[in-house]
Symmetry: C2
Subunit: 398 residues, 2 copies
């Protein structure tokens, strides 16, 4: 036996990848948005009063009529639930079988499963600039090198995508094609065709994240990228925006070549998603109540979007710009020359209103004039009060 | 724009770490155990008829009385649930605050969070030989180098632990100290003190996985390793064995130095565990019904263990050995000289009975004579029928 060392040795350090996942510098500021008197357009929260609490409670009671829902289940997930999701894809023009799908604990987990399956430290991932924040965190924890693809005039720079693909041999391009977080931007049909063609030409995969797809308030539905490049596209979906986020039920749609590896990654991640939540989600979707709840949610969110858009001209400084999303939860704005969104947030909080500065969403150099406004949390009248406060904040700060 | 390449480029390969997670060679054999006529001692499944279905259904109904349970929640988890778990630790002699705990989607996820927080590719992890299979999978996916610490006479070889720690500077030692999976073995008080002292001396952490702690049928409770080395020990717990596994609710008990990194890893893993399942678990525990259900489960599992132990002498070949666990779900046996457990499984399946060969549980060279028998799934009479079939199989194979 080795000789006794009396002093305690130092604890080993954390992993390098844990150190590379940064906490956001605006997190402290955003903690202030939780004051009850603040009208916060910062969070990406669905409206709880629109949840179908009664329908969901009935679905849980039905699911909990058999002890089988209390037992361990398969990593792939509830067969009935996967058949319902597969039928939705097929009805929307993308033929899908239950075997193509694996149920995840929210679509955030799906992102992690693809990272585990595809990324080794140092591998390159292409992202849209700006990009969904938690995706950047996942790719950082995988030790990957993230390269942002810029936009011009609100559309992805497709030549920059081709050039980055040629230069860096990426493992995949991560995109939220419809009503993106944070920008609300949707890739049009031609962009989708060209992104898919680029993946096929340069031999990289596409991870298509579609949390907002079913929250469309205007315009026509667009095909999945998988329609144009079926072997190259992996998709992520979720019920967080159409049933409720508290269930934490999402799914991945995989290509056959990586399916066994994704299943092993899922086993290692949490064995399987809650048997009870999965069975309740299947009950709820089969009951027909989900479809009517979604119609109600869409109509109400459309009114909220319109209320915010109507108030923006008087709320933001002259010379600011913003987009008009056809769906989702977010409006993306760019303040007039000379403004800084992080500085402006301080003044906004003094007026009991909040938004998220755009800077943390950038993988590379941020545009400090940008900000994200969520329009789903409050009824239209309350949105107008908040926008009026925002106008007052920008007046004060001038 | 680059010139068009007409042929489709090859898809990029999977990650090296995904390739290193092996599927088990006995998996095909075990698929046969799902035939309804097979009495399977192979799975580690709790007995569904002992679940408190009514109590759990009532808890979900109570939790689903407010829309707040349908909303996103914090990554740390339900405050009430964490307070209940903290009070349990404190009552058992290990002072614990709610802030020390983070709720996970089963304790399997906790293992992944510690891997993300602590392991870079190439880092060394020490494990008990044999070891819980899904832990080996998690460490393989983290790209770590796993070194098994052998046992002698059913107890961990503590000199080998010290020697491996001195030679390899491990990040942590992973242990299931109480009623281990697969062996049912429990580290006694002296072993616990020495394992803790080794971690302090050589400066590595201990990840203590305690899924079976509350399933004790004989003997006295033993202190957590954290009692002896509070700065070095990270613990994993779960309700899978005491409420039901379908909820997928576990927790990690962390030291303050890694808590922010674990929280970020949890955000990246799945944002948070199901708000509904967490609230229902807290309701159920607070109702007092969990304690009486656990008493019933313990009494019944003790009877099942005793039934299996009583039948083992006539079931296994002469010269075989096995242990007498004080709790948990498993008996570990070693067949007499000349036998091979994987070969024997084929004959057992021909007699409609199954077990798991021990070989897949080894990180290094396996002991091909070992096997694991789970005693929790069936009532005592059915266990005796299965053991009688096992005896017939070994007679045939002789």
């Amino acid at each position: 036996m080795p000789s006794v060392i009396t002093s305690t040795a130092t604890l080993p350090p954390k992993s390098a990848r844990a150190g590379s996942a940064k906490t956001s510098p605006v997190r402290d500021l955003l903690a202030l948005t939780e004051r009850p008197d603040v009208i916060s357009f910062a969070g990406g929260l669905p409206a709880p009063e629109l949840f179908d609490l009664d329908g969901i409670r009935d679905a849980y009671a039905a699911a909990l009529s058999t002890p089988a829902v209390l037992q361990y289940s398969t990593s792939e997930g509830n067969a009935r639930l996967r058949e319902i999701v597969a039928a939705q894809y097929t009805a929307e023009g993308l033929p899908t079988a239950a075997e193509d799908l694996l149920v995840t604990t929210g679509s955030q987990q799906g992102l992690g499963l693809f990272a585990t399956t595809l990324l080794d430290p140092g591998d390159v991932v292409l992202v849209e600039e700006p990009c969904y924040l938690a995706a950047l965190q996942t790719f950082a924890l995988a030790g990957s090198r993230v390269i942002g693809i810029p936009s011009s005039d609100g559309a992805l720079d497709l030549d920059a995508l081709d050039a980055a693909a040629a230069a860096h041999a990426p493992k995949f391009f991560y995109t939220v094609p419809t009503f993106q977080n944070p920008t609300g931007r949707t890739h049009d049909l031609e962009s989708r065709e060209r992104i898919a063609a680029s993946a096929m030409r340069y031999g990289y995969r596409i991870v298509e994240d579609e949390p907002y797809r079913q929250l469309r308030y205007s315009g026509d539905a667009l095909p999945s990228l998988a329609h144009f490049a079926p072997d190259h596209v992996l998709s992520l979906g979720t019920f967080s925006k159409v049933i409720a986020p508290g269930l934490r039920i999402g799914w991945v749609r995989t290509t056959p070549d990586i399916r066994p590896a994704v299943t092993i990654a899922k086993q290692a991640a949490d064995l399987h998603t809650s048997t009870i939540d999965q069975a309740a989600a299947a009950e709820y979707l089969a009951s027909g109540r989900a479809a009517s709840a979604l119609s109600r949610i869409r109509a109400e969110y459309a009114a909220r979007r319109d209320a915010m858009l109507s108030a923006l001209p008087s709320a933001l400084p002259d010379g600011s710009t913003w987009n008009t999303p056809d769906g989702g939860m977010f409006v993306w704005a760019r303040l007039a020359d000379g403004w800084n969104a992080t500085t402006a947030l301080g003044e906004a909080l003094a007026h009991d209103v909040a938004f998220v500065p755009g800077a943390p969403f950038y993988a590379g150099a941020p545009d400090e004039r940008t900000l994200r406004l969520s329009f789903t949390t409050y009824a239209p009248e309350r949105i107008l009060v908040g926008m009026s406060r925002l106008g007052a904040a920008f007046q004060t700060d001038r």
